[in-house]
């Protein structure tokens, strides 16, 4: 039921138009951070205000929305954002990856490959990949403009020098179409390869930092690395204890105080889909499927 007091998808039309313009510019210049006039949203910064504004600007009444947080549809953040749009836009929602036309995500890319016509919206805390080494915004913008990305490798160098390997495991920097270096948001580096050549549109929104950026379908996205320390998408060395999947990203769940733990797919829809099809993991409850 739509709350009639709100404009469709909460934001007023002028704001949505402003954000769409920024998004179009972002799509035209893949990986480039486009400033936009981020609005106050009825949720705190850090809870997805950037992603919500991008989603609001993209939604049409015919869309079906899926919201995930760390891969799960049933966590607080995902549930409240989904409810937010049910109430303010009245759009259909789903937990099925394949059934959604717009997917807002925090920290994951769904395991099931997305298709043309779908939009994946990322929530981004800090859009500037160079920030931690160069605090001056004026300087990082110049570095992007002039493609001076040596500093990005300094960060990776420091990783290898300190840990013997590139220890960055999430928000792993990428180069887009051989041009802009981009922060893919805090997705695990396991998901990095999915960024490249994706059929869906990928949009990134940072509310507090007032930036959006984008990857058009089938963009070439390369994870930065060294020749002798190549990029490796890593995950826990286990199969999913519920569905038995060997190639999906896993969460570690502590099950008791005696050190018991299990590994389960972080993508709840993917895991449920496999179990529905009869796949079973080590600890799958008896009688399921």
């Amino acid at each position: 039921m739509t709350d009639a007091a709100y404009n469709f998808a909460y934001l007023d039309e002028a704001t949505k138009r402003m954000i769409r313009r920024a998004l179009l510019k972002g799509l035209a210049i893949p990986g480039y951070q486009v400033p936009f006039a981020s609005r106050e949203m009825p949720m705190p910064y850090g809870w997805g205000t950037g992603g919500v504004q991008v989603t609001a600007a993209c939604l049409t009444p015919g869309d079906t929305l899926k919201v995930i947080d760390q891969g799960a549809d049933d966590t607080t953040n995902a549930v409240s954002i989904r409810k937010f749009f049910e109430r303010t836009a009245g759009v259909a929602t789903t937990e099925r990856t394949a059934g959604a036309s717009v997917i807002q995500t925090r920290h994951r890319i769904p395991e099931k490959p997305l298709t043309e016509g779908q939009i994946l919206v990322y929530q981004v805390p800090i859009p500037e990949p160079l920030r931690f080494l160069e605090p001056r915004e004026s300087e990082t913008r110049r570095m992007h403009a002039l493609e001076e990305y040596g500093l990005m490798h300094v960060k990776l160098y420091e990783d290898v020098a300190r840990h013997g390997a590139i220890a960055t495991s999430y928000a792993y920097p990428v180069r887009v179409e051989g041009r802009y270096v981009m922060d893919p948001s805090p997705i695990p580096k396991f998901d990095n390869p999915k960024l490249s050549g994706m059929a869906a549109i990928q949009l990134f929104g940072a509310g507090r930092e007032q930036r959006v950026y984008a990857l058009p379908p089938y963009s070439r996205v390369v994870s930065l690395d060294f020749e002798d320390h190549p990029f490796e998408p890593t995950k826990a060395d286990h199969d999913c204890d519920l569905c038995g999947a060997s190639a999906s990203y896993l969460d570690e769940v502590i099950t008791d105080d005696a050190g018991g733990r299990m590994f389960v797919c972080s993508d709840t829809d993917y895991c449920a889909g496999r179990r529905a099809a009869g796949q079973r993991g080590r600890l799958a409850p008896e009688g399921e499927a």
Binding site: L133, E148, G150, L151, V154, Y157, F226
Partner: protein, 263 residues
């Protein structure tokens, strides 16, 4: 650097840097005015003068940190002031180097010694960690820092070591032209001597051309081939270093030389 290498043959016996009537004003105040000189490959030019004489302004204009108002700077025949910013910045991190008086201005204090030295290599496309690390280690040795400290941050280094690290970071890409702003200022006398010796060796072995700003005439005597004396933004006197110091012609230079304890 292919764009520059193409003209290399023509410049074998030409000045590396040729400055004509360089002027920089701060509103109505003069920063430096109508400064002209040529710098040849392998030559060290000292710019001396008191605080406020315009020597740092001149250095800033030459290195592209400040925008000159008038004049021309030719580097290997290329008009620096007409260059686009990307070209100029590429020059600054390949063929040029800048050694700041305060190493904190020239180093990344939060990055290890190896990362500091390796940055310029990575900036021009080095992507092999092992090779970058070896180069960094070599350079630490060259500037007399124990390579075992390659993973330490500059904060853990003494002032003299930080300055030597800054020099390594600058020279790792084998630049041709180095700008130095009071590189030995703020260091103890014994540490200064060590740094001077190191710089002299590097200048000779790498064939560096150097523009060094200093108010210390003893430093100028030991490092510079030629001197340029500045006062109130203008060049008062130029010449061979020992000639300017031992037989100064201009009234100001005579005063400057005679006010210094024996150099």
């Amino acid at each position: 650097m292919t764009a520059f290498d193409r003209t290399l043959t023509a410049s074998a016996d030409a000045p590396l840097l040729s400055v004509q009537d360089l002027t920089k004003r701060y509103g109505r105040r003069i920063g430096c005015e109508r400064v002209s000189f040529d710098l040849w490959p392998g030559e060290v030019l000292g710019i001396v003068g008191e605080s406020g004489s315009g020597k740092s302004t001149l250095l800033g204009c030459l290195a592209g940190h400040l925008a000159a108002d008038e004049g021309q700077i030719l580097y290997r025949g290329h008009d620096i002031l007409a260059m686009s910013e990307p070209e100029r910045r590429l020059l600054s991190r390949t063929e040029w180097a800048f050694v700041h008086q305060n190493p904190r201005d020239g180093l990344r204090m939060g990055v290890s010694a190896g990362g500091n030295v390796g940055e310029r290599l990575m900036a021009i496309g080095a992507r092999n960690y092992g090779a970058i690390r070896n180069a960094a280690s070599d350079w630490l040795t060259k500037v007399e820092i124990d390579p075992g400290r390659i993973d330490d941050r500059p904060r853990a280094f003494s002032g003299g070591m930080q300055q030597r690290l800054q020099i390594a970071r600058n020279l790792v890409t084998a630049p041709r032209l180095v700008f130095m702003d009071e590189p030995t200022g703020g260091l103890d006398v014994s540490v200064q001597a060590r740094l001077l010796d190191l710089l002299r060796g590097l200048v000779r072995d790498m064939g560096l051309s150097v523009v060094i700003v200093t108010h210390d005439l003893a430093v100028a005597r030991l490092l510079a081939d030629r001197l340029m004396v500045m006062k109130d933004g203008r060049v008062i006197e130029t010449g061979l270093t020992d000639q300017v110091l031992d037989d100064p012609q201009a009234a100001y230079t005579q005063l400057l030389v005679s006010s210094v304890l024996q150099v």
